[in-house]
């Protein structure tokens, strides 16, 4: 099976380790991974800040780049939700504005083929034990778009529970937002920081060494808050845990 990796602009620029982990993990599971070099950004930041019309060419570009693949895998719940939930809505809005079906038709092919990483592993590959080894105590934060827009459910936790050496700790208030929210973190910085601090305190109360999530933008916010609050916990993307093995452990 040949899949395209949609790494997202944030991962590509700031978190290349997550991308390398996805390639390593999927290759280990026998998947042929391609990274289309023409990919850029799904347009979520633009769309969610109110620049829907500017997000449209970005969505069209996404479709041009990824339309030809059997499956598109992304290690980001929120970018996955952008394609799956909001691309169809962009098409509908264009239609409502009297611009016909062109945008909807352009975007339609990529919508059902786009999978968030844990969804792809569990639903498409049918695995929950990916042969990973990660000897740490971990608490899992289900990010909002993964939880509510994509409905990832217990998939990430099932994957983590099958990791050798990993001890999973339940996070109190897990389904509460960490306070990132894209431009929200800048526009409503006080409230965002307060939400982040509460998330970190809840995570600390579990006694885990690692806070894991399936979205680097939330982890950036939580991790930045951890540094400022001087906690010993580390934020780690789930792909990096799942890619870690006894032979090549993630340090």
């Amino acid at each position: 099976m040949r899949v395209a990796l949609f790494l997202t602009c944030v991962n590509d620029t700031l978190y290349p380790d997550t991308g390398r982990a996805v390639v390593k993990l999927l290759t280990r599971l026998g998947v042929d991974v391609d990274f289309p070099m023409a990919q850029t950004c799904c347009g979520q930041a633009h769309y969610n800040t109110g620049y829907r019309h500017q997000a449209e060419p970005m969505a069209r570009h996404f479709s041009d780049v990824f339309g030809g693949y059997e499956a598109i895998v992304t290690p980001s719940g929120s970018c996955g939700a952008m394609v799956r939930e909001l691309y169809p809505r962009m098409g509908e809005r264009a239609r409502a504005e009297g611009r016909g079906d062109t945008l909807a038709a352009t975007l339609a092919p990529v919508v059902p083929k786009t999978y968030e990483l844990t969804e792809f592993l569990v639903d498409v590959l049918g695995v929950t034990d990916v042969g990973a080894y990660y000897p740490h105590t971990v608490t899992y934060h289900p990010t909002c778009h993964g939880l509510r827009s994509l409905g990832l459910g217990d998939r990430p936790r099932r994957l983590l529970q099958s990791v050798k050496g990993l001890e999973l700790k339940e996070l109190p208030g897990a389904d509460e937002c960490c306070g990132f929210g894209g431009t929200f973190a800048v526009k409503n910085s006080d409230v965002s920081a307060a939400m982040g601090a509460d998330k970190v305190r809840n995570a600390e109360s579990t006694g885990a060494d690692v806070l894991c999530a399936a979205d680097n933008s939330c982890l950036m916010h939580i991790g930045g808050t951890m540094t400022r609050l001087r906690t010993d916990m580390r934020p780690v993307h789930i792909a990096e845990i799942l890619a870690s093995t006894e032979e090549e452990p993630l340090v």
Partner: protein
């Protein structure tokens, strides 16, 4: 005794700043919202067909809104036939003028009130006060807000920001100004506080000749109004006075009695986490020698038909004011209700106020951003209002402007001021994202200069870096690594 108004509020982030750092307020809010949140989840889980009830509620409301003109005419006919009088008010001023006139016509100078969002929305108490009429709130939480010369901060529990000690102090200090004083040596135990309020209010109920109420629902086929409440004060206001004036938003109609079946299940479970609310009062016009002998219904528009004209935003009019979205909202929990600058706080307030009032003022232009778009509000809403969708839609109105309906006419809005830098940044980003080559050059530049990156950001990013550390830029972006290691495979693109 004015409750204070929301006129001239600063933007949401400025208003929230203080609340975030007020530990008492945050403690009060956190405790209250988390308690009710957990109870609500249990009350909802008990109902096996909750998803169907939610869908039914949504459809009944959508159907009614689509044919609102027809149902409003039907309602007017049935209310009139039952002995009531219907008045139409296009905006707050007109509604206040009508109610003031009606009260004055009775020769009275005081009224008792059932808690009502609509009368708060139009500032009725202040308008009556200006004409020498005292309006007494009789809902316990509303009484606390009124006596404290405060503003409500929650739809269902307007005094949610107050704790017992603060309430005791307000009662002891203020009750004697307006009627029966608080008992000597009042403590902060809930039973004593409730008894003090009961005695103070009883005097008012028995004296009042005019009652003012809102309504949760109006049934078009019979002209019946419905109030759902917990304390019984509403029933007193609805039955004891000689004249009853109900002030209701035009969107509160349901076509038939049967439709109530859905909402009388979803509303109490969503709002107070009860299977059934303690008091459901219904009244239809007037009845000889029983209850008020004069009944007026004042129907208010106040921005509602303009909202109805917006195909994305109109779903906000489905709201049954259960307040479930407030109780799950992490932003509401930290910012407090006052920061929303309206009687409608929380997620629903963030989409309703900028639609009813327009996005011109500082507060109204900032409300669509008062959310991290986490989606918890949409999940709990018993009429499935997609609040995040409407927030993003209203953000578009703020930054891009566009055609909207105001006072029944189409007007073209200019983009709001203060977004020029953001718009430029968004355009630049879109330009780079349209050109993978340019994006790559930028990434490489960032990687090469990573040692020189500041640990704090200038401009709008400053607030971020003050409370959170920035990530370090990696030595090599992913795409360069991919090209180096998997190079030939996809180099053409």
């Amino acid at each position: 005794m004015s409750g204070g108004t929301f006129v001239g509020m600063p933007s949401f982030p400025k208003a929230a700043h203080e609340a975030v750092h007020n530990q008492t307020l945050r403690g009060n809010l956190r405790h209250a919202t988390h308690t009710i949140r957990a109870k609500r989840a249990n009350a909802v889980a008990e109902v096996s067909d909750w998803a169907e009830l939610r869908e039914a509620g949504k459809q009944i409301k959508d159907h009614t809104l689509r044919h609102l003109d027809r149902y409003l005419v039907q309602l007017e006919e049935s209310v009139t036939a039952a002995g009531g009088t219907v008045h139409w008010a296009a905006d707050a001023d007109e509604a206040n003028r009508i109610v003031t006139y009606l009260v004055k016509a009775t020769g009275e100078s005081e009224v008792v009130k059932v808690k009502s969002m609509a009368t708060q929305e139009i500032g009725l108490n202040e308008a009556l006060e200006a004409e020498g009429i005292n309006a007494y709130e009789t809902d316990l939480a509303e009484l606390i807000v009124q006596l404290g010369k405060d503003r409500p901060s929650h739809i269902l529990v307007p005094a949610i920001h107050r704790n017992r000690g603060e309430i005791r102090d307000i009662f002891a200090r203020e009750m004697s100004e307006w009627g029966r004083p608080a008992p000597e040596g009042l403590t902060d135990t809930p039973a004593e506080l409730a008894e003090a309020a009961r005695l103070h209010l009883r005097e008012k109920f028995l004296r009042a000749k005019v009652g003012v109420s809102g309504a949760n629902f109006m049934v078009a086929e019979t002209g019946t109004l419905v109030v759902v409440e917990s304390e019984g004060n509403g029933r007193m206001c609805l039955t004891l006075p000689e004249t009853l004036i109900s002030v209701v938003g035009i969107e509160k109609i349901v076509p038939t009695w049967q439709d109530l079946e859905v909402f009388l299940q979803t509303l109490p479970r969503s709002s107070t986490a009860e299977r059934m609310n303690p008091y459901t009062s219904t009244w239809t016009g007037t009845t000889d020698e029983d209850g008020p002998q004069t009944f007026h219904l004042v129907l208010i528009d106040n921005g509602r038909t303009d909202t109805l004209a917006d195909e994305v935003g109109r779903q906000a009019l489905r709201c049954i004011r259960c307040s479930a979205c407030l109780n799950v909202c992490p932003v509401y929990e930290r910012a407090g209700g006052h920061a929303y600058g309206s009687v409608y706080p929380g997620p629903i307030g963030a989409i309703l106020s900028p639609q009813l009032r327009g996005t011109q003022s500082e507060i109204d232009a900032s409300l669509p951003y008062a959310s991290s778009l986490c989606g918890a509000c949409y999940d709990v809403c018993p009429v499935a209002i997609d609040i995040p969708e409407v927030l993003v839609h209203l953000r578009e109105r703020v930054v891009e402007g566009g055609v909207v309906t105001r006072d029944g006419a189409k007007v073209v809005l200019k983009p709001a001021k203060g977004h020029a830098a953001e718009r430029a940044a968004m355009r630049a980003a879109r330009w780079a994202f349209g050109r993978p080559g340019a994006l790559r050059t930028g990434q490489r530049f960032a990687s090469r200069t990573r040692r020189f990156h500041p640990r704090t950001l200038p401009g709008p990013g400053k607030a971020w870096s003050e409370t959170r550390a920035l990530p370090t830029v990696p030595a090599e972006p992913f795409r360069d690594w991919w090209q180096r290691t998997h190079g030939g495979k996809d180099a053409s693109k």
